[in-house]
Symmetry: C2
Subunit: 209 residues, 2 copies
Amino acid sequence: KDILKENSIIAKENKDLLKKYQIKSYNVMGAIGSGKTSLIEIAIDALVKKGKKVGVIAGDVVAEYDSNRFRKHNCLVIPLNTGKECHLDAHLISHELEDLEEHGILQDLDYLFMENVGNLICPSDFTLGEDKRIVIVSVSEGDDIVLKHPIIFRFSDICIINKIDIAEAVDASPEKMERDCLSLNPKIKTIKTSVKKNIRIDEWLKLFD
Amino acid sequence: KDILKENSIIAKENKDLLKKYQIKSYNVMGAIGSGKTSLIEIAIDALVKKGKKVGVIAGDVVAEYDSNRFRKHNCLVIPLNTGKECHLDAHLISHELEDLEEHGILQDLDYLFMENVGNLICPSDFTLGEDKRIVIVSVSEGDDIVLKHPIIFRFSDICIINKIDIAEAVDASPEKMERDCLSLNPKIKTIKTSVKKNIRIDEWLKLFD
Ligand SMILES: Nc1nc2c(ncn2[C@@H]2O[C@H](COP(=O)(O)OP(=O)(O)OP(=O)(O)O)[C@@H](O)[C@H]2O)c(=O)[nH]1
Ligand SMILES: Nc1nc2c(ncn2[C@@H]2O[C@H](COP(=O)(O)OP(=O)(O)OP(=O)(O)O)[C@@H](O)[C@H]2O)c(=O)[nH]1
Ligand SMILES: [Mg+2]
Ligand SMILES: [Mg+2]
Ligand SMILES: [Zn+2]
Ligand SMILES: [Zn+2]
């Protein structure tokens, strides 16, 4: 489709721009409420502690809920109201990147996180120019969620299976979810985490070394 | 937009067709894994027990996961592969209804459930011809989920806040979610349920009396 072709052209431009300034970038996708913001917040804190400069583009449907959470951290926050858009696209991102470059801010960044709209369908079609694609699901969505949405897992580099502390309470098997990820995409890296109980958060952080 | 105008025209035709045969219909929307299929299954069983004829249109991204769950019940199952569609639309539904009418099956139904794609953004724009719009969210999505997606709650008749049995485990307040629904839409009917612990399932079933 023309829209997708157009998007990949702009995504390539975004990627080149980020590479020019040696910025590591992450497209963080996932189901609604799976823990995207929580995990990004944790990554930001750890990177800032190591003296890194971090930016985050926060896709909020309305208002600035996630942007406001990111603002509590020592990072650059770029709010993006997505409204009726059910996915971020390269065009939206390119505007923000060009703005930041003009203001001389982009050049300073070491890391850029982009929190996508909560959706396991559309974001797979629209790359943004990221280095790594992360998809975050949680056990509470049901452990058939991976096989129910094969495309996004096939086209992601990393899958986080979050909220494993409540796996029993929702009758879900994180191991099944992990197996399903690998069956769809043998090259995907999986981590079973709990933000609440601090399980494998160190492995999450290792992704950004 | 033309697409939306076109959709409402077809939705009206669907509505008229369902009214012609006195079929009560429900557009069941909600977040991924919030409990849509589980709650519809429970409704089907109760209605079948009362001698009603029930049909369900199951929107599955791929394969027939939800359709296969519905097949275990004594109802008519219409599988619908939505693929990259992030919402059901009136056009898809009209095809199914016309098919059923031609085969003399539609006429027999008393109830029709339509399980929409897991998505809190796009389905609000696309009515299907339903009598009632139900949106199902669960506490595990975070209790800011309602205010984060105002449109779908403004345009729904009923909101189910599910999985209240794990509210504490995910630090969410079902009461806040309920208040937020009513603040956006004073006329919305809310029920705080747990499928797992059988909380207020009787109230869920009362909706279909
Ligand atoms: N029990 C438990 N709850 C968690 C965990 N991680 C996140 N949560 C809760 O899940 C809810 C959603 O977390 P967020 O970080 O806002 O998730 P999100 O994916 O950014 O949500 P959206 O941007 O709205 O799609 C919050 O109430 C968190 O407290 C976990 O590991 N265990
Ligand atoms: N703890 C708990 N788990 C629940 C409850 N209701 C549903 N679940 C679990 O939540 C998961 C998803 O339930 P489904 O009925 O498949 O949800 P859905 O909205 O149809 O999911 P999709 O169609 O994939 O978007 C399953 O693993 C259920 O066992 C509840 O009230 N409490
Ligand atoms: Mg978020
Ligand atoms: Mg379902
Ligand atoms: Zn979409
Ligand atoms: Zn959409």
